[in-house]
Subunit: 246 residues, 2 copies
């Protein structure tokens, strides 16, 4: 992990860009982190749109989390931003667009081709990022996850024992295999669902919520489209982390 | 409205029992209410189990609300506690118990007979209580509703323009007619659903949530049975009122 730049944001929050091998990322630490105990960490997993595109949203959440005493970090997803695409992913995106333009249902083959290789590639990268982040003296545990592609969060919650709690956003296609995998998740979950999300299958999201094996799980569903998560829903997600990571 | 007793609870909260005609009720006002501006009001509509039975739960919520500056009030539902039953209601309860004991689905006729007359009788009583409560100098607006039988809250939200926001608990049978009525609700809603509620039809609850016409509505679903609403879900409902009644 190599830091490549740093700047101070509001409230003394330190923003540092880094690279982890080929993968770019950003770490935000609260202004108090250097002088006090190591900060608990929240992994902010982005949607697959490129970090540059989603930076304003991520930075706003990072500042919010820092006010609660949390460090946050993100890395670029495989195939997003400047990271290399792979042919099968390009094909899956093209197939998805064609199906949606034609008004056809998006078949399981397309969903699997779109999501499963992304999960396979992303999860080990997040685990490597976690190794690097937890080796920093200013970062401690426990670790939370807040993320964009719900299948990545689901898999990470199954395989990564250092994760204590997760906020998942039910706003992306869900491969059938993930419903079975979801039963093996046991950490506390807070699942956000936008009731009128254009590109989301609401019933699949409800089925996935039902499938999670966690004893404590909350579904927080609100009106509006994919990007319309209301501010108070973000606040509720913050309170969830305050309950579980402190 | 005649006050019949009064006592001071924790934090100086004043609890007064009253009667409204034949109907017993309880009013809780914050310790600060006499010295400051009139308090906003939350109607705490009980489940149909009798006020004496549910008093501990209601009083706990009243104290919580008082800490946020709210007055709260409840009245006994028709046919609950010491209030007279009516033969058709007794019959509906007997039919329901028989169906549930036999493991049969609870038919629409039973649900209609159980709920619709209760709604017809209860809603005008809550409106009369609201008239009386708002005439007290220590009570002001806006007015919220937090309730037990979701069909009563739905009807009240449709017919009572003084209601500004409602927390509804999706834990009782829902007559088919209420789905259509729900489309006419426009106030902000916060709907609590216990995912594993033994006596509740989860799909009906989701359908009712979908039907509400409100632009702002949140579904807050949590694990556990009918009476297992987690404390943090109660806190989230409190924050909803803080956003909408202040």
């Amino acid at each position: 992990m190599h830091f490549t730049s740093e700047q101070r944001l509001d409230d003394g929050v330190l923003e540092r860009e880094f690279t982890l091998g080929e993968i770019p990322g950003i770490l935000w630490t609260p202004g108090s982190a250097s002088t006090s105990a190591p900060a608990p960490l929240i992994l902010l997993s982005p949607p697959p749109l490129g970090l540059r595109t989603v930076y304003p949203r991520l930075a706003a959440r990072a500042l919010h989390c820092a006010a609660d005493g949390f460090a946050t970090a993100t890395i670029e997803l495989p195939g997003s931003g400047d990271r290399p695409r792979w042919p099968a992913a390009e094909q899956a995106v093209a197939d998805l667009r064609r199906a949606m333009r034609a008004g056809e249902p998006v078949g399981d083959e397309i969903i699997d081709a779109l999501i499963l290789p992304l999960v396979e590639r992303a999860v080990p990268e997040w685990q490597a990022a976690l190794d690097a982040l937890l080796s920093l003296p200013e970062i401690g545990g426990p670790v939370g996850y807040s993320g964009g592609v719900i299948s990545i969060g689901t898999r990470l919650a199954v395989v990564e024992p250092r994760l204590s709690a997760a906020v998942l956003f039910a706003g992306s296609f869900i491969p059938r295999a993930m419903f079975e995998e979801a039963r093996r998740v046991t950490i506390p979950l807070h699942v956000l669902l936008q009731w009128d999300d254009e590109g989301n299958d609401r019933q699949a999201a409800l089925d996935l919520f039902d499938a999670f094996g966690s004893k404590e799980k909350t579904l927080n569903a609100n009106m509006g489209g994919h990007t319309g998560v209301p501010r108070f829903a973000g606040d509720a997600a913050g309170q969830f982390f305050n309950r579980h990571l402190k």
